[in-house]
């Protein structure tokens, strides 16, 4: 029997004694494509921090491939999971390809540094995310959207079997949103990558993901395919808006008042 890529068993966690995630049990199998949605403060980002081991649960346990995360080194976690943050601030100027190369750090020998295979992986990641035109540019001069794509390329270069994304499309125009979603689908289909993305855009979630986990007040409110997990009633309950469902591809449009 294969172990789930990510498994949370009765996890409670939070900050400074305040529980943000409450008794969550959830498992994601290798090769799944999961969107994590929910209102602000529902605990989506906290859930990601639990899965990457940056936050320790106060109760319950987190397992990666059946192994307790507390027993894994940072390096071992980084070889399993790549994370695309919302934004990153660079303190010094760095060219796009130098930033993307940071994705290879978990594969590097600490003393010897990157090898030719690492350079090739960086070049391939740049090509795949469509950043070739930005090679040589200072990453700090790029637009927010371009920087977000650079962070996606870092994760692609990291070549981990699981990719977590924290609102990867907030700064992207609609074209690039669709491109990033298609890239994730492609990573999922061709490399078998497990994708878990925190998303605010329910359209995008329903369009590109096969499984939707709705988080509300630190608990799993719904979990299933888009038409089940994002039913009009559920959206009304969780997000407190009156949705206007337009066909199968566009869930939860909110009509003007």
């Amino acid at each position: 029997m294969t172990r789930p890529a990510i498994e949370l068993r009765g996890v409670t966690a939070g900050y400074a004694g305040r529980a943000v995630i409450r008794d969550v049990t959830l498992s994601v199998d290798a090769g799944e494509r999961v969107a994590l949605v929910g209102p602000n403060g529902a605990g989506k980002s906290t859930l990601l921090r639990l899965v990457t081991g940056l936050l320790r649960p106060t109760a319950g346990e987190v397992l990666l491939d059946g192994v307790g995360i507390a027993s894994l080194s940072r390096e071992a976690i980084a070889r399993r999971i790549a994370v695309v943050p919302q934004v990153a601030q660079l303190p010094f100027s760095a060219r796009v390809e130098q930033v993307v190369a940071l994705g290879r750090l978990p594969h590097e020998n600490p003393l010897r540094g990157p090898r030719p295979a690492d350079h090739a992986a960086v070049a391939a990641a740049i090509e795949r995310v469509g950043l070739s035109a930005l090679v040589g540019r200072d990453a700090r001069e790029l637009s927010l959207g371009e920087r977000q794509l650079v962070l996606v390329a870092v994760a692609v270069a990291q070549a981990a079997p699981v990719v977590l994304l924290d609102e990867p499309t907030v700064h992207l125009d609609i074209r690039h949103q669709v491109d990033v979603m298609d890239l994730l689908a492609d990573l999922n289909r061709r490399e078998g990558a497990t994708i878990v993305a925190v998303l605010h855009d329910l359209h995008l979630a329903a369009r590109s993901f096969t499984r939707i986990v709705v988080l509300a007040e630190g608990r799993v409110a719904a979990d299933g395919p888009p038409d089940v997990a994002l039913s009009p009633d559920r959206i009304r309950d969780v997000f407190r808006v009156d949705p206007w469902v337009v066909g199968a591809a566009a869930w939860a449009s909110v009509p003007p008042r």
Binding site: A16, T52, L54, S73, R74, E75, I77, A78, R79, I81, A82, V83, P85, A88, Q89, L90, P91, F92, S93, A94, R95, E97, Q98, V99, A101, L102, G103, L105, P106, E108, P110, L111, G113, P116, H119, A120, V122, A123, A124, E127, R128, V129, G130, S132, V135, G136, D138, R140, E141, V154, Q158, H176, D179, V180, D182, L183, D186
Partner: protein, 359 residues
């Protein structure tokens, strides 16, 4: 976004990839050559003229143990072997130390304005040195006086205090470190001012320490400081991966496999130890630790695997030339020379760099 059928380009498709990869090697060789010139000039020139042939003769007879016919006096030999050579080598070691400590603190704190003194090492060392001057006891152990010992302990002690105090309260660790460093530094500056007020005739001695000098360099002091600095620098080099990960922030560094908590303590300890060893033998010399890592980054980019060793090389060269200039100008404080060279150079680089430095 690449369409599905598109061919993945090989690494060599980067514009001028070859040039970018070769540049660090070229710069490294240029740095080594400059260092050799600095060594020769530093030993060859001084307030007393010594013929190049005699200098060479003294060095070969001492280093290689060759039986060269002595054409020089014992005083000349003392000038070259006991004064100039340890002085030049001390300048090199201190230059290496300050530049690498600067690169370490800038990378660790993710702050381009950080320098080796940012977490209180400078004010701690200065206060230690001033107290040593005020104590009317003279102890000398292996050429290390009370002043060197107190400066070293003051520098290390202040970082330990800053680190421990910064862990109180819920602020982000880096912000907290910087602010605590500033607060404690100000407090120690007050102590230093009081010590200077009380010092009377010894004021000049404190003042000399604050401005930095290699005047008092000796083989014994070099033997004390050099191992600490050089081992520290090698250990920082072995942490290059952590420094690279920190470029994108502490959380992202953790996602890239860096054990941030452990590396933060390690790099903080190494940077402080290197700085303390350097300032104990040289006093407070500014600008080298701030400027050299920036110059190197502008030339080769932010990769710590290149920034740390090249900073060491350039720091050594700059400090040796600065000390030579200080000597030739009649023993003015070397800190004045590094500031006069460093500040305008830094401004030019800032103007030329396209993005400048955000705070």
């Amino acid at each position: 976004m690449a369409s599905r059928g598109q061919v993945v380009a090989p690494a060599s498709s980067f514009p001028s990839a070859g040039l970018i990869r070769r540049r660090p090697i070229v710069l490294g060789l240029a740095g080594l050559a400059a260092l050799a010139v600095a060594l020769a000039a530093g030993v060859g020139f001084g307030s007393v003229a010594v013929a190049p042939g005699e200098t060479l003769g003294i060095l070969t007879s001492r280093v290689l143990g060759l039986d060269v016919t002595r054409t020089w006096s014992a005083a000349t030999e003392a000038i070259v072997w006991d004064l100039r050579l340890p002085r030049v080598l001390t300048a090199m070691v201190v230059g290496v130390g300050l530049a690498v400590a600067g690169a370490t603190f800038q990378g660790l704190l993710r702050n381009p304005l950080a320098d080796p003194y940012v977490l209180g090492t400078a004010s701690g060392a200065a206060l230690g040195a001033a107290i040593a001057v005020l104590i009317p006891v003279r102890i000398v152990f292996l050429e290390f006086g009370l002043l060197h010992g107190f400066a070293f302990l003051g520098a290390l002690g202040s970082v330990v205090a800053v680190y421990r105090l910064s862990r109180i309260g819920g602020m982000a660790p880096l912000t907290s470190l910087l602010l605590t460093g500033y607060a404690l530094g100000s407090l120690m500056a007050a102590g230093l001012a009081m010590a200077m007020h009380l010092s009377g005739a010894a004021l000049r001695q404190i003042f000399t320490y604050l401005l930095g000098s290699f005047d008092a360099a000796s083989w014994g002091r070099l033997a004390g400081a050099a191992p600490l600095v050089l081992v520290g620098v090698l250990l920082v080099m072995s942490r290059a991966r952590a420094l690279n990960g920190l470029l994108l922030g502490e959380e992202t560094a953790a996602h890239l496999g860096v054990d941030v908590r452990r590396e933060r303590v390690t790099l903080l300890a190494l940077g402080s130890l290197i700085t303390a060893a350097a300032v104990a033998v040289s006093g407070l010399i500014g600008f080298v630790g701030l400027v050299v890592p920036h110059v190197v980054r502008l030339l080769v980019g932010p990769n710590a695997r290149l920034v740390v060793p090249l900073s060491a090389l350039f720091g050594a060269g700059l400090m040796t030339f600065a000390d030579l200039a200080a000597r030739m100008l009649g023993e003015i404080p070397v800190g004045v020379v590094t500031a006069v060279i460093g500040a305008p150079f830094f401004l030019v680089l800032l103007r030329r760099s396209r993005t400048g430095y955000e705070l």
